[in-house]
């Protein structure tokens, strides 16, 4: 009896992550101060600042190039939106770019989530020699920006003749130390040791434990990590820009970036392309915004 109560209360008291999740609702509601009018004004300004460039992208995309070369700039929608979207879609090779980016971001996010979950589980719940050192390496790799490695990667891609092929973008994107760290933090507090023990006593192999215990427990965190990774890969710019070409086999970002070139660019078309490239993710955020916010707040605070 005593042992179970002790172990049950433990995760709540020792793990900061659990505390963070639970505290705001229960304790804050009474103690927390209500915001005054000034706070709302400041919030309104920042919300406006965050949303205005996006709204204005749509406004500019609904005008024509001549209207954008006049002062004052337009503040309301014109009538050219669908015409511009149509032209930008065809000019920038966006149909193909959408298919490509969905493949790249989908494959990458799914693989990262899977690999991060099993690695995070091992780091959180299994004992093995070198665990501490390996975890330090994982944290260390988070500090090394991937951009420093692009030259040899580019040479590899050139040698394998993978230029303009999607695997050149997918493979390097699969390394995510953040994912491993994120899943570890989640599983430490969300997965009680007793459940693993119980499964072990029933004779389950490690792999069965992963399949029948870890994955069901980790599902919410996996979903959040998947969304974060999808957003990140979808928006990736430098590496796809180097190995994919705008006319051949672009991702959305490569295609959209190509719209800005040329000496007499049509600004309304550029904005239409930018809008098309952003819209899918904004939709995802509109639907899953609450979960994504929760995931960022849960995963990012470790110093």
């Amino acid at each position: 009896m005593t042992t179970t109560t002790v172990t049950k209360s433990e995760p709540q008291d020792t793990v900061p992550a659990a505390r963070r999740v639970r505290r705001p609702k229960s304790e804050r509601a009474g103690g927390q101060l209500h915001a005054g009018p000034i706070a709302y004004v400041i919030l309104a300004v920042f919300t406006l600042g965050s949303l205005f460039p996006l709204v204005w992208t749509a406004i500019a995309a609904s005008r024509d190039n001549n209207r954008l070369a006049q002062t004052p700039p337009p503040f309301w929608f014109g009538s050219n939106l669908f015409k511009n979207l149509d032209i930008a879609w065809n000019d920038a090779n966006l149909g193909k770019a959408f298919v490509n980016t969905t493949i790249v971001a989908g494959t990458s996010a799914a693989t990262i989530v899977f690999l991060s979950t099993i690695a995070g589980f091992a780091f959180a719940k299994l004992r093995f020699r070198g665990r501490g050192a390996a975890m330090l390496i994982v944290i260390g790799t988070m500090m090394v920006p991937p951009q420093l490695s692009i030259i040899p990667l580019y040479m590899m891609v050139a040698k394998l003749e993978w230029t303009d092929q999607l695997q050149a973008v997918i493979l390097p994107s699969l390394v995510s130390a953040f994912g491993v760290f994120f899943m570890r933090q989640y599983l430490i507090q969300a997965l009680p040791d007793e459940i693993i023990e119980a499964a072990r006593v029933d004779g389950a192999s490690s792999w069965r434990v992963v399949w029948h215990v870890v994955f069901p427990t980790a599902r919410p965190a996996m979903a959040v990590l998947g969304m974060l990774m999808f957003v990140q890969t979808w928006n990736d710019f430098l590496w796809p820009f180097l190995v994919l070409s705008q006319t051949g086999n672009p991702t959305v970002q490569v295609a959209v970036a190509g719209l800005g070139r040329g000496y007499t660019p049509d600004q309304s078309l550029i904005m239409a392309g930018a809008l098309l490239g952003t819209l899918p993710l904004l939709l995802v955020f509109a639907i899953f915004g609450k979960q994504i916010v929760g995931g960022i707040m849960q995963g990012a605070v470790k110093g």
């Binding site: 101060l33 919300t47 996006l54 091992a122 500090m143 030259i151 916010v293």
Partner: protein
């Protein structure tokens, strides 16, 4: 990877350990089966953790560590884009070349100033925002999601929109300045305005994200700390200074490190801010960052060896920054 040799292991002696030698062959077979199971069990316990973490480390080896080390190797060679496999040993010449190049120092300075202009206001604003979001608010989720919308916007899309907003002749920002009586600014060609404009793209994309991180850390601060501070007569501002800030120290350090790394890599925003000048970062390199300079040397001038030297220089700078950060954080911890 190394675990799946269950079948390869020879069924050696262990079989006849405890039960002695019962006469019935069936019992012996049963005991052997059990021993095999328990051996497999132990192997599973012992090796499966490595199997679970090895995919990450293999990928990291192939696409993280190896390229990083190889960059160092390539930086000591002359390598041209036209024949990436022909490498001629040149020792430190790539490094002396770039250190003699004014554009390298120009890019280094720009990276530093753009880094400061973009990071400092960003984190200060994020802190303020987080403080406000930590009050009881109506529709609090709405503000959080709205402030995260820029994070969902790609560098490419954001940069293209800001180019228009910052346009010299017809841009909205100059129009707004004009209505309050300030003469128009050439955001693209003047040095400081262009750096501010490029930085504003970064600020716009990341402020909300950092605010959420600070907010999460603020919500983890125990409420009783505030209550006892209030009992001691601390004003709200004093509570913020003496309770909130000290508790946020590790988080602040984390965001500073991440933002510093991000700032050292800035590439897409300045590349697209003047799409026709591209890699040079403006007509007079006025907003060329180290990331852009690397790209210019490697992909425009096709000197991959020299680009590697730039990458390694950036890496060493990051290590120095990391060490400085570490020392500072230890000092801070020791003093508190």
């Amino acid at each position: 990877m190394s675990t799946r040799h269950d079948t390869a292991a020879p069924p050696a002696k262990e079989g006849g350990a405890a039960p002695g030698r019962p006469p019935a062959a069936a019992a012996e077979a049963d005991a052997r089966r059990r021993a095999r199971l328990s051996r497999r069990w132990q192997r599973d316990i012992r090796w499966s953790p490595y199997a679970f973490v090895s995919p990450f480390f293999l990928l990291f080896l192939a696409f993280g560590l190896f390229p990083l080390v190889y960059t160092g190797w390539a930086s000591l060679h002359q390598v041209e884009m036209t024949a990436p496999t022909d490498m001629t040993w040149v020792g430190m010449r790539n490094y002396t070349r770039i250190f003699d190049d004014d554009f390298f120092w120009n890019a280094a300075k720009n990276t530093l100033t753009i880094g400061i202009i973009s990071t400092v206001p960003q984190l200060l604003m994020a802190m303020g925002l987080a403080h406000i979001l930590n009050y009881k608010l109506r529709a609090s989720t709405f503000y959080r999601v709205a402030m995260l919308a820029p994070y969902a916007t790609s560098i490419a899309a954001a940069s293209l929109v800001f180019v228009l907003l910052f346009g010299r002749d017809y841009g909205m920002i100059n129009w707004a300045l004009d209505t309050v009586g300030i003469s128009p600014v050439d955001w693209q060609n003047d040095k400081w305005p262009s750096q501010i404009a490029v930085s504003s793209i970064i600020i716009w994309r990341w402020t909300g994200y950092n605010a959420l991180i600070y907010l999460a850390a603020m919500q983890a601060i125990p409420q009783d700390l505030y209550e006892s501070a209030a009992l001691d007569g601390a004003s709200r501002w004093q509570q913020f200074l003496h309770v909130t800030l000290p508790s946020l120290r590790p988080t602040i350090l984390f965001t500073v490190v991440v933002s510093t790394i991000g700032a050292s890599q800035v590439f897409g925003e300045p590349l697209l801010f003047d799409a026709n000048k591209g890699a040079s970062g403006g007509a007079e390199h006025q907003f060329q960052t180290l990331g852009l300079y690397l790209y210019e040397q490697g992909w425009v001038n096709q000197h991959l060896g020299r680009a590697s030297a730039i990458a390694w220089t950036m890496f060493l700078i990051l290590i120095v920054i990391g060490i400085v950060n570490y020392v500072i954080s230890r000092r801070l911890r020791a003093s508190s």
